[in-house]
Each structure stands twice: as structure tokens, then as C-alpha cells.
Amino acid sequence: MLRNRLFFVMGLLVVASMILSACGTPAPVATEAPAVEQPVATEAPVPTEAPVTPTSFTTPHPILGDLKVRQALSYCTNKADLIKSVYPLVNEETQANLIMNTFIPTSHWAYAGDENVTIYPFDAAKGAALLDEAGWTLAEGASFRTNAAGDELALKFTTTSAAFRQTWAAIWEAQMAECGVRVVRLHAPASWWFGDTTGIARRDYELGAFAWVGQADPGGQTLYACDQIPLPENGWVGQNAMGWCNELASTNIKLANNTLIKDERIAAYTIVQQEFTKDIPSIPLFNRTETFAAAADLSGFQPVPGQEYYNYNIQDWEKAGSDTIVIGFTQEPASLFTLVEDAFVANIAYQIVRPAQEVHLNYDFKATLVKDLPTIENGGTTNNDVEVAEGTKVMDADGNVVDLAAGVFVMNAAGEKVEFTGGTITMKQMVSRFDLIDGLKWEDGTPVTGADLELGKKISCDPESGATSFITCDKTASTEFSDNGYTQTWIPGVQDPLYFLPVWAIFPAHQLGDLAAKDWATDPRVAETPLSYGPYKLVEWVKGEKLVFAANENWVGTPAKSPNLVIQIITPESAEALLLGGEIDILDSTSLAGLSETLAAAEAEGKIKTFVEAGGTWEHIDIQLFTR
């Protein structure tokens, strides 16, 4: 009786709440937003079609607009000391490798080379001389420089309040003071500095420090092209918040991002880096490190810069005197269905059973599970001229997938941005052929075939699967699957420089072919015990504790040297103690904030090995070239 009454009352409450909520829901808006305080935009910003004529941010910054001042700031910056302040335990050779000269790491395939860029080695005297030339002189007895009008050379420096940045920013402030430049530091909350409508997004700084994440493909178009300068007039679209517009650099960064020939890309990136270091819209400082630690008796473990997933060679790992290797994870994977869960730890665990089809060692690409990466140079990809008529799905000049119609801007076959006015237009269309290596099998012995790739495409492109983005599916005109691979045809206009990378994931059609897409995220065969075609198979996942793997006897590659592998879930607080105590063998960069004194001491005693690599993330100081 009581239970019935309770449910009745609950039911009433829910119905009442629904009525209340219905009353409170804003009415649908057809044309304009209701009158609120200064509405600016009603939609997520998208790149504009027509060039923007700026009416704001047109006045060069009174101090930083002068190239001599920017050069002086560069000469006065002692990058080695900045690195030492945040990575004091790292050896000098590694510290030197962290220094950035341009926006591309020195070990990257797209780096222009020291001889092709302007390098600003630390030289305070040269910096001081340049400031003198720029009219900023140091009066006798004064600490900071002034100009003829008596204005002090003071610059506002904005960055986050992270301890890491506070540390090197304090050193940089002192370095600038040595040159007579007063730096006024503002350590703002990250939520403001990186906010959608504040900080960098609104160009609200003079000198601003933050980090970019470098990748095997350097990108850069949204950072350095002239039409990517965020302005009130274009809805603040673009990431070139410095306001740097160098026509030669702008043209070449676009070329580098859109041409498909690697040599052409390298040449274009070289020009951009030359101009970048000449104009100095930003002072590149240093790569952040990625630190790994491993038991001294573990062999084969070798993280490589540019290769995000350090387990690329897991089959070669071996621990002396033990049949089990234990990796410590301070974060448990949420799911091994990486289409919906893309966390780093999930990918590491997933790639133990299903290795990637290519690796990015030293920022370069190498095929692993496909016979070759199909480039235009090796004939694996053709870039054909095709006649495209109205209504055809194409990629427009801004990278959006649209149906071709009058008024749409596209890149024609000659690489020119043109407006489609009707009839037909000749565009480029890429076709690539991907072939799996021979002998690839699932752990149950079933061969991996084109059907598995076809399932990969089907699930990746089904919104019911829970996948987040479908841009790859939208860009695909057709895919023809064969026994051992597929031919991928992109829609006209797709000219992605990474066209040669495998497109579709491999899923076991013989096991999951009948599983509805909506059930994939929740099915344990997908999320918890994916069938392996890699060096190890997943035996057991004890939630909150460990994932247990065993060598996969059906792996086509070199057999795993260690018969067993375990991912042990640990906590950040316990990580070092467990490594030193021998409970785990490997700690990766997600578990280690850096090289600690404890680890350095243990390495000196020969108990462990540490690996400090230049990570992809790099610190820099952006310079605001214009004022509002």
C-alpha cells in the first residue's frame, strides 16, 4: 500500500515537473534571437567565404610592431636557462635537443634546417644594441629602458597560472630585465586564457605564452595564413591571433597544407619557416618533455619522438628472468571501443591487441599492416581530373562537404579558388589503394579480410555506433573492398596531405558482423575483450585492477618475446614507489609529470632506466603585432 502511494506521489512529481519544464522551455526561434545583452553570433563560427577587410587591429603595436624590438627580445631570451628551470634533472644533451628554432621541431621531416632559418642564439649584448637602435635606451642608473618621450619599455606578458609556466616565466622576466625590458607578468586562469570568448581567442594580450601540440603532419594553415587572423569582423575565426600577415608565408603555408607531393610540402614549409624566423611573430622556446621510466632489466622498450603510442614495438619487449611485463597505468581505459573512446590509455591498450596500420617514428610515416602507404610518388594514389556537375557532393574551398551548387567556392583542378556558376567544373579527385599485409589473422585463426575492413567502414559511418565525427565518411565518394584491401575514392576537392594514411579500422566481421551498430558501445566483445590480430590477446580485464594479456600465437609479425603482459591500474601517488618496489616495470609519460629526483637517483644506482624525449608539445611566446 505504502509502496503504491509512494510511486503515485513520485509519478505526480514527475508529471508536474514535466509541465513546469514545458512552460519554462524557450520558444523556438525562427529568425532572430530574443533581445538580450549584445548578441554577437547565433551559430558556431565557420570560416567566411569572402576576404575580411579589418576595421580593427589595424594599428601596429607601438612597441612590438617594431621588428628590431622583436629581434631584441629573441636575442635576450636564453632558452637553455628556461629549459633548465623546468627540467633541472634532465641531462644537458637532452636539454639542448628541446630548443625550438621555428614552429617545427628540429627532428621533424618538415624542419627547414638550421642553415635555412634565422636563429637567435642568446646574446644579451646584441639584444641591447638592437633596442638602442629602436630608440629604447637605458639611462644611467636606470633599470629599464625608455624612449625619447620618456615612456618605459614595459610589456604585459600573459599566460596561465600553471606552476610549470610560472617557473620559466619568472626566469624569462629576469632575462628581459637584464636587457632593460620590464615584463609585467599576468598569470591568468586557463579558463580565461583559453576561453571561447576571452584571452587568446580575443587577442587580449601583448606577449602571450602557451603551447601547441606538434604532430607528424605540421599543419599550420590556421595559425599563419593571412585569412586566419581573428577579428571582430569575421566572428573571431582563425588562430592567427598574433595578426601576422606575410603574403609569402601565407601562400606557402596554404601550399604546404594542400599540396600532396612531399617534396613540395618541405619546400613550402621551408619558406614559411624562413619568413617566420625573419618576422618573429612568435618566439618559439622549447619542446616539453615526455618522461618514461622502466625497470633496468627490461629490454626493447624505446619511445621515439613523433610516435604517440610508445608500444609500437611491444613484441620486442622482454624482462630478464620473468615471463610477465607489467605496465603501470594511472588511468584505466574507459572502453576499448576506440571509435567512441579516444583517450591515450585506451589507445595504448587497444593497440596491444590491434596495432595501428602505420607508425609515425620520428614524425615520419611507415606502413605496418598495409603493404605500402599509397602515395602519388609510388603510384598507389592517383589524383585525377574529373568533371563535376551541379548536385555532386564535393569539398568546398573551406573544407566543408557540400552539394555543388551555384555560388559555392571550390578549388578547381588548377588549384584556383573559383565560384561555381553552373554547368560543370573540373576538379581533382583522389583514388588510393590499400592492401593488407599477407597472413594477418585474428587470434582465433580466421584470416583478416576485406570484409573486416568493410565492417570497419560500416560502423565508423553509422551514427548509431556512437562515433563522434563523420567527416571521413562524408569525404568518401566510394570504397571498393576486395579480399585483402580496398580502393578508396574521395569526393572531388578532397586534397588532404595525409591522403596516404589507412582510412578504415579493422573489425572482426565473423564475430561482430551481425551486431547492430547501436549495441557496439555496450557490447563487452567490443568494449572489453576485443578480438586480437596483434602480438598479444586480451585474456582478462579485472575492473579497477588490471588488464591481462597473453602472447597471440596467430600474430603474423615477430612473436612476442614476453609470454605475458599486464596493464596494472595504479594511482599517481603510488607510481614511483611501485616501480622502485618492482611491482611494475614501465611508467609512461601520462603517469610521470617529469623526471623526479627519486627516479634520477634510482637510475644512478642502476635500478631503473629513464627515457626523456622531446614531446610534441612546445612552448612559445606569441607577440601581438597590432592593437585594437
Binding site: 513520485m10 514527475v14 515537473s17 514535466m18 509541465i19 519544464s21 514545458a22 519554462g24 522551455t25 524557450p26 523556438p28 526561434v29 534571437a33 530574443p34 538580450v36 545583452e37 548578441p39 554577437v40 553570433a41 547565433t42 551559430e43 558556431a44 580575443r202 590556421t222 575565426v237 620473468s322 607489467v326 574507459a334 572502453s335 567512441v340 573512446e341 573544407g399 551514427p463 556512437g466 563522434t468 565525427s469 563523420f470 567527416i471 588532404d496 558501445a521 555496450t522 563487452p524 568494449a527 572489453e528 575492473k543 579497477g544 585492477e545 588490471k546 599486464v566 591500474i569 595504479i570 594511482t571 601517488e573 603510488s574 614507489a577 611501485l578 622502485l580 618496489g581 618492482g582 611491482e583
Partner: protein
């Protein structure tokens, strides 16, 4: 008594309901969540997310539904669609949410530009809920699916995976604390100002003052790392069991996953928690006993010639325990919630750590489940405390 219990149970249900509403609303307004970061991704070239993608993601997390509707579905699994009576649908067109909100940048009174929802381009109607996945409601024990920690799989799986370890840890620690703490407190009170009392009071004070992470790290250093480096017998530094077999001097080979292995791994975290609890509880018992021992009826009992043991255990302790009951019963929710810091230090896979992860990763279904279960256990503990009062002190009557 029966009427009292019924009344209290009903009150407790109301309290649980109110706390569920409060915590659900608070979490709903907390910053972060599964949609944070999508705006940045939306502008990125290679991984572009469309407005439709965002609408779909909002729907999969039910963020497109109005708060009361979401709460109803979370609590009792309704509404799941229009009300159907006699084959006829009612309220099918009722608006229950917004699939595509209209957002605008506005400058608020502080001059800060922020993005706010100013309207709705596409409503969610009650009939749209038909076929959407939903839980049966927490009242029926279905806590829904995890957003982050165990993505798209049942929250109950997560909780079930952690509960046994937490019960082992906290249960043993509580038991040991009671067995050690109560006699220590009594003895110290009875021997007030003795050498033992001074030493005990000093140690208990230190134990209460020291944070658990300090004890944890100290113990790892003293009983694990240093003796192991010196080739002496040691205790494993963390985890609930080992992955590999190992050998400890004096103890010999320990098989990974064996009872011996698990027992060894429990020593340090249990020791830390027990020391902290013993320090606090024994001081409490001591103070309470000292109060009671000064009472007239104790003096009378002694004057009547009763033995010290009888006076202490029968007359004094029973009354001294009344305030202590309050502390002890509230270990019941503690059995469930675990020990956040100690679990972190020793990498113990328990509930305390789950709490932190759920809040840190914006896994609100998990956090809500934990809040809800804790509020239920707290209410039960309160009720139990009142009942235990009547047992400890017959003068107390519940009406």
C-alpha cells in the same frame, strides 16, 4: 517503537529524495561534462564536428532534455514516451527538451563575454523519447550507464568491481580499530595521569594530527622500500595483490593472487587507517569514560563494594558508549565510501578512488549513484544510531 520506526522511515525517504534532487541539480549545473571541448574540435579542419553531431552527442547523454525530465528518467525511469491510456496517447507533443539550442555571445554585467542559450531551434517532444535508451531508475537499482569511467556500460558494474575491496579494507580496519581503540581508551581513562596515560595520550594526539598520506608514505618507506633495498623482510608497497610471484626474506615465496599475497598487501593500508582511527576513537572513549567515572552512580557502585571490572564494564562503559555509538554507526556509509587518500597512496582499487575519478572525469551518473547510495546509508545509520541508543541506555524511549 513501531510507530516511531515507521515515521522515521517515511521521513528518511523524504530526506533521501531531497538529497537526490539537490545533488542532481548541483551536478547538472557544475562546469565541464561530455560536451566541453567540442567547440574547439568543431573548428578543427581534419576532425570537424557538425551541428548535427553535437545534437546527437547531447541526445546520447540526455543533455537535450529538461532537468526535471532527466531527473525523472534517472530516478524512476520515466517518462519514456507519451502517456498511453486505453491505447490512446496523451501529451505526445509536450516539449520536454531542446535538441538544437540557439546560442549567442552576450556581454554580462561584469563586461565578460559569455555564450548563453537564448532559444531553441528544434524541440524534443515527449513522443521523441520512445525507443531512447534509459535506465529503469535508481529506485529499482539501475544506476544507468557510465559516461566516462566505463563508457556506455552499467554504473553498477563499476561499483560492484570496487565494493569487495573497500569492504575488505574498511571492514578489517574498523574491526581492528574497535578491538584496539576501545580497550586502550578505557585503560587510559581508568589509569588517568599514569605513565601509560601520558604516553598513550601523546601518541594518540600525534596519530590524530598526522595526515593519512604522511603515514602512508612513511610506512611505504619504512616497511617496504628501505628493508627491501637492505635485503630484509618487507611488506608490499601497494596494490591489492601482485601480478608476479615474489620472494620475501623470512616469509619465502609468495604466489601472486594467493591468500598470503593478498593478506600481505593489506597490511600497510589497514595499518595506516587503523592507527588513525584508534588514535581518534580511543581518545573519544577515554574522554567519555572520564566523564562517566566521575558520576555519582559510579562512586555509589564502588561504595557498594562492586569490583573494578564490574564497575567499569557494566556501569561506566555502557554509558560511556552512548556518544561513541554516533561515531561507530557512521562507519556504515564509510564502509561503502572507502578511504580516498589511503586508497590513492596504496593504489587500492576501492570506492574512495572511484569517487574522485567520477567527479574529476565528469562521470555524473557514477557520481550520482555514489551520492545516492551514500545518502541512503547515512539515513540508515542515523536510524540505527537512534535504535542503538535505546539499547545502550534503557532510559531513552523512542516515541
Amino acid at each position: 517503537m513501531t510507530a516511531y520506526l515507521i515515521r522515521r522511515v517515511l521521513q528518511s525517504i523524504l530526506v533521501v529524495f531531497i538529497s537526490a534532487v539537490a545533488s542532481y541539480v548541483l551536478l547538472s549545473f557544475a562546469p565541464g561534462g561530455p560536451l566541453s571541448g567540442l567547440r574547439q574540435i568543431q573548428q578543427s579542419g581534419r576532425f570537424r564536428i557538425t551541428e548535427e553531431d553535437i545534437a546527437r552527442i547531447r541526445a546520447s547523454f540526455e543533455l537535450d532534455l529538461n532537468l526535471p525530465v532527466r531527473f525523472g528518467r534517472w530516478l524512476i525511469g520515466v517518462p519514456r514516451g507519451p502517456l498511453v491510456i486505453g491505447g490512446k496517447e496523451y501529451f505526445a507533443e509536450m516539449v520536454v527538451g531542446c535538441r538544437r539550442p540557439v546560442e549567442a555571445e552576450v556581454t554580462n554585467s561584469r563586461g565578460v563575454v559569455e555564450i548563453v542559450t537564448v532559444g531553441c531551434k528544434e524541440d524534443v517532444l515527449l513522443k521523441d523519447l520512445v525507443g531512447r535508451r534509459t535506465s529503469r531508475g535508481v529506485l529499482l537499482g539501475d544506476f544507468g550507464l557510465s559516461w566516462r569511467l566505463l563508457r556506455d556500460r552499467p554504473v553498477s558494474d563499476l561499483i560492484e568491481s570496487r565494493i569487495p575491496k573497500t569492504l575488505q579494507l574498511i571492514g578489517l580496519e574498523t574491526l581492528l580499530s574497535l578491538i584496539i581503540g576501545i580497550p586502550l581508551g578505557i585503560y587510559s581513562a581508568v589509569r588517568q595521569y599514569s605513565r601509560f596515560d601520558y604516553i598513550f595520550t601523546t601518541l594518540a594526539f600525534m596519530g590524530s594530527a598526522m595526515p593519512s598520506f604522511f603515514f602512508g608514505l612513511l610506512f611505504i618507506l619504512l616497511f617496504s622500500i628501505l628493508p627491501k633495498n637492505a635485503g630484509l623482510a618487507y611488506i608490499p608497497a601497494g596494490l591489492s595483490e601482485s601480478v608476479r610471484n615474489y620472494t620475501i626474506p623470512l616469509i619465502g615465496e609468495v604466489i601472486a593472487g594467493s591468500f598470503k599475497d593478498r593478506a600481505l598487501h593489506m597490511i600497510l593500508p589497514v595499518a595506516v587507517l587503523t592507527i588513525l582511527n584508534v588514535a581518534g576513537w580511543s581518545r573519544y572513549i577515554r574522554a567519555s569514560m572520564l566523564d562517566v567515572l566521575r558520576q555519582d552512580y559510579v562512586r555509589t557502585a564502588r561504595a557498594k563494594g562492586l569490583g573494578q571490572k564490574m564497575v567499569i564494564l557494566k556501569h561506566a562503559l555502557r554509558n560511556a558508549l552512548i556518544p561513541f555509538i554516533t561515531i561507530v554507526v557512521f562507519t556504515i556509509p564509510g564502509l561503502f565510501s572507502g578511504a580516498i587518500i589511503t586508497e590513492s597512496i596504496f593504489a587500492w582499487p576501492g570506492m574512495g578512488r572511484l569517487y574522485i575519478l567520477a567527479l574529476g572525469d565528469y562521470d555524473y551518473p557514477v557520481a550520482m549513484a555514489l551520492f545516492f547510495i551514500l545518502s541512503v546509508l547515512t539515513v540508515i545509520a542515523t536510524l540505527l544510531r537512534d535504535v542503538l541508543y535505546t539499547i545502550a541506555d534503557p532510559r531513552i524511549r523512542l516515541h
